[in-house]
């Protein structure tokens, strides 16, 4: 255990002028780059890493944490203001954020995203700082069989997102899983459905699919509508009512249960490597909608929808550091980038990190808390700027967004091949929306698919194909029972919404 004076010294380090400056710089960069369509928070970190080569460890890692946290706040901006989420987790935010922004309340929508994001983030940071060690031990006990059960539970909750046709929802999910099966199979590493393109060997790149389906397909649709009709991309405000541009304390407080639920879901999923923020955001959204007294108001600008999504996806990021710092296991791409930053500075996260580098770890914790304050402050200023930017005519917003998506996807994947894949999925996404198939269900299935298949393969290998061994795991059995319960509950809620 780290002694108290080391903790204090670590927190003190985080408050030094140099470190605060790097946190501020990181947050500003993260919010800015994260908000640019097509780039997003992960890309922001990958770009930032080489700049940390020359820094001392604490400023370097504080800077990256700043970029990561800033990027999360920034990532909600294109989702809310333009309905073009750059990452799949922000797609959940767009479901209510964009309708609210379209009603002439873009500042209210983005501020709600900012406040709930920081609330969820702070919650998981506190969990990380206080109880990371016991949580990490629990995460270890989640073997492949339990992970399969957990993912079945996640899929069952997604039933809450299926609209009026169950068959169409199932098609979206199966199509997403089919797309996820492109690339090497999880057990024998054979190239599968790659049609001779070795760029596909590691599977379709997530940025290509997510940005193509969620952002480009929406931009194409809006371009076709904009023909000869020059409007601002968003209207900053319709009325002079100041409440349209801010979130009142009463509104924030009314979302406390929603945000707490989101933060808990995000923290649990974040502590378990490989599930990720997308599932957390949508699970939180679906549970909030189903437990609401007025589920029909979701998707039409309900602030609870924004709060549910943002609190959950931001909580994942802090919680991702639980397995990372204690076990050296990255829970997400962003966490993997932080590990490489540790490695560049000669440290390997793992069981001895707290002992050997206690002061640095507590310096990092201090930096995370400071980054949350800075995020709130910079966000208040930055959001006004973004609302102004997006008030420019649609012609320039969409042409620039397309160019940025080209560049961003090309940098995040392997060049123009990734851009071509992006365009293919933009067309698929456009057609699916036109014919009434859910894109978010496709994306979630695509995102969870590889992990799901791998965990099934691992479970089969461990049990020699004898699936009755599942009964020996109480956690798995409990999750499977919960899956059935939630499936019934969500399908009944859907029916209730339809009846209204």
């Amino acid at each position: 255990m780290v002694d108290f004076s080391t903790m204090l010294a670590g927190f003190g380090d985080a408050l030094s002028f140099l470190n605060l400056a790097f946190i501020l710089f990181g947050v500003v960069l993260g919010q800015f780059v994260g908000a640019v369509p097509g780039i997003g928070p992960i890309m922001a970190m990958a770009i930032a890493i080489p700049f940390t080569f020359g820094l001392d460890p604490l400023p370097a890692i504080a800077f990256l944490v700043g970029v990561n946290k800033g990027g999360l706040v920034g990532g909600a901006v294109p989702a809310v203001l333009m309905n073009t989420p750059g990452t799949p987790d922000a797609a959940a935010t767009a479901m209510d954020g964009y309708p609210l922004a379209k009603q002439g309340k873009p500042l209210k929508a983005t501020k709600m995203a900012l406040f709930s994001s920081i609330t969820g983030d702070t919650f998981s940071d506190i969990v990380l700082i206080t109880v990371s060690a016991p949580l990490a031990v629990l995460a270890l006990k989640m073997g492949p069989i339990e992970v399969v059960a957990l993912m079945i539970f996640a899929f069952s909750i997604l039933a809450g997102l299926i609209g009026n046709s169950l068959a169409k929802g199932i098609i979206s999910a199966a199509f997403g899983l089919l797309a996820a099966s492109i690339g090497q199979d999880p057990e024998n590493f054979t190239p599968r459905l790659i049609f001779g393109y070795w760029d596909l060997f590691d599977g379709l790149a997530l940025p290509s699919v997510a940005i193509g389906m969620l952002a480009i397909s929406e931009i194409l649709h809006r371009l076709s509508e904009a023909h000869g009709n020059l409007r601002p991309a968003i209207i900053a405000k319709n009325t002079d009512n100041p409440d349209d541009s801010r979130v009142t304390w009463a509104e924030y407080w009314s979302c406390r249960v929603t945000m707490l639920r989101g933060a808990i879901i995000g923290t649990i999923l974040g502590a378990l490597p490989g599930i990720g923020s997308t599932a957390a955001a949508f699970m939180s959204y679906a549970m909030t909608k189903a437990s609401s007294k007025d589920p029909g108001s979701f998707g039409k600008g309900n602030i609870h929808g924004i709060a549910a999504s943002e609190s959950a996806n931001s909580a994942v990021v802090g919680a991702n550091l639980i397995p990372l710092l204690t076990l050296g296991i990255p829970g997400s791409v962003g966490a993997a980038l932080i590990i490489s930053a540790f490695m560049i500075h000669g440290m390997q996260p793992g069981p001895l990190l707290f002992e050997n580098q206690g002061r640095l770890v507590y310096g990092l914790f201090g930096a995370m808390i400071m980054a949350n304050f800075v995020n709130l402050w910079v966000g208040q200023l930055g959001l006004r700027l973004w609302v102004k930017v997006v008030s420019a005519p649609e012609s320039i917003i969409f042409s620039s967004a397309l160019l940025l998506c080209f560049v961003g996807v090309s940098m995040a994947t392997s060049g123009l091949f990734g851009v071509a894949i992006m365009l293919i999925f933009a067309i698929i996404g456009y057609l699916m929306t036109s014919f009434g198939y859910s894109l978010v269900i496709f994306i979630i299935a695509f995102f969870l698919g590889p992990r799901f298949e791998k965990s099934i393969a691992q479970s089969l290998a461990l049990t020699n194909g004898d699936m009755t061994q599942v009964l020996k795991s109480p956690v798995a059995v409990a999750l499977l029972i919960l899956s059935v319960v939630s499936l019934v509950w969500f399908l009944r809620t859907n029916a209730r919404v339809e009846d209204e």
Binding site: I49, L140, L200, D202, G346, L462
Partner: protein
């Protein structure tokens, strides 16, 4: 951006070297020189490649751009490289084993072979270890095989095809049964061992913190020779299983590149692999010193590696 003391010192020495006629080669790239890394951003290959580029840039003053071209353990990147003109502008960086495995198993589907490239040098060797929890009732591979026979079967975590084949070879030689669980990278192997879901697994560096803390022990070296950090652990070959893998990080260009360019670039790489800043990164990434076998050595490594891979991986 701010540079570290090491890089500043390097920059200073590079400036001095440039003014001295001995260092400066006549050849310089016409426009930016691109290093394509066959893996995604953030891994150890990416980190080493980016630092190598940084040091080369400081040494030579060339404009060097680093790009990630992930896919198939480098196969996608080398496929692309083999289709380019040999204009001396693009360098590929990859790891030998994944490329050799695909060449042996699916050579007919690939547009390149070992001769499609001019080799520039190597930068490091990865050490691959079979590790187990400290509580495991065996201490070496022979003990593990005996324990597997006693229990009927034993769960082992792997993360890539060569390791699966090594375990299958172990089974073929000794008759012991293993449940082979494929994990998503070394970190997940460690998680499976710590969580008690498997008894042993392969690690290419992810196990170091656990060796240091005493939570894990080395069972065997999967390389041709013993591990530098655990010289007491026997190799698979010494334990009676005739199989090994020696992954080497190497750099290459399209075959037919101008000889002057090859000479200048491989000299720059050699210079960079000797820099302390680079050695530090390699030490952090693979727990070993940089190894540059030079252009001929790199080519020989690939040719020999292919012959060995044919024995181990042929279908």
């Amino acid at each position: 951006m701010k540079l570290s003391k090491n890089l500043v010192a390097l920059a200073a020495s590079a400036v001095m070297a440039l003014t001295a006629p001995s260092f400066a080669e006549d050849w310089a790239p016409d426009g930016p020189l691109t290093i394509e890394i066959g893996f995604g951003a953030g891994g150890s290959t990416d980190t080493m490649g980016r630092v190598l580029a940084e040091v080369m840039k400081e040494n030579t003053g060339w404009n060097i751009v680093v790009e990630n071209k992930p896919g198939g353990g480098g196969v996608a990147m080398f496929t692309g490289l083999s289709q380019r003109p040999a204009d001396g502008k693009t360098i590929g960086m990859g790891v030998s084993i994944p490329v050799l495995v695909q060449l042996v198993q699916r050579g007919d589907q690939l547009p390149f072979n070992v001769d499609s490239f001019d080799y520039l040098g190597t930068i490091a060797k990865a050490e691959l270890a079979l590790v187990a929890s400290k509580d495991a009732p065996f201490d070496d591979l022979e003990g593990m095989i005996a324990y597997a026979k006693e229990k009927g079967t034993l769960p082992v975590a792997t993360m890539a095809p060569p390791q699966v084949l090594m375990m299958k070879q172990t089974k073929a030689t000794t008759g012991a049964e293993f449940n082979l669980v494929t994990a998503d990278g070394g970190a997940e192997v460690m998680k499976l061992i710590l969580g008690g879901q498997v008894m042993a697994g392969f690690g290419s560096g992810e196990q170091f913190p656990y060796l240091e803390s005493g939570d894990m022990k080395v069972i065997a070296s999967a390389n041709q020779s013993r591990l530098s950090y655990a010289p007491e652990a026997k190799t698979f070959i010494e334990s009676g299983v005739n199989a090994y893998v020696d992954p080497v990080f190497f750099l290459a260009m399209k075959a037919g590149t101008d000889a002057e360019a090859l000479k200048a670039i491989s000299a720059a790489i050699d210079e960079a692999t000797k820099a302390p800043a680079f050695a530090e990164i390699v030490q952090n990434a693979v727990k070993g010193a940089p190894i540059n076998m030079g252009p001929e050595g790199a080519k020989q490594m690939m040719v020999d590696g292919l012959a060995n891979a044919k024995i181990l991986f042929a279908k």
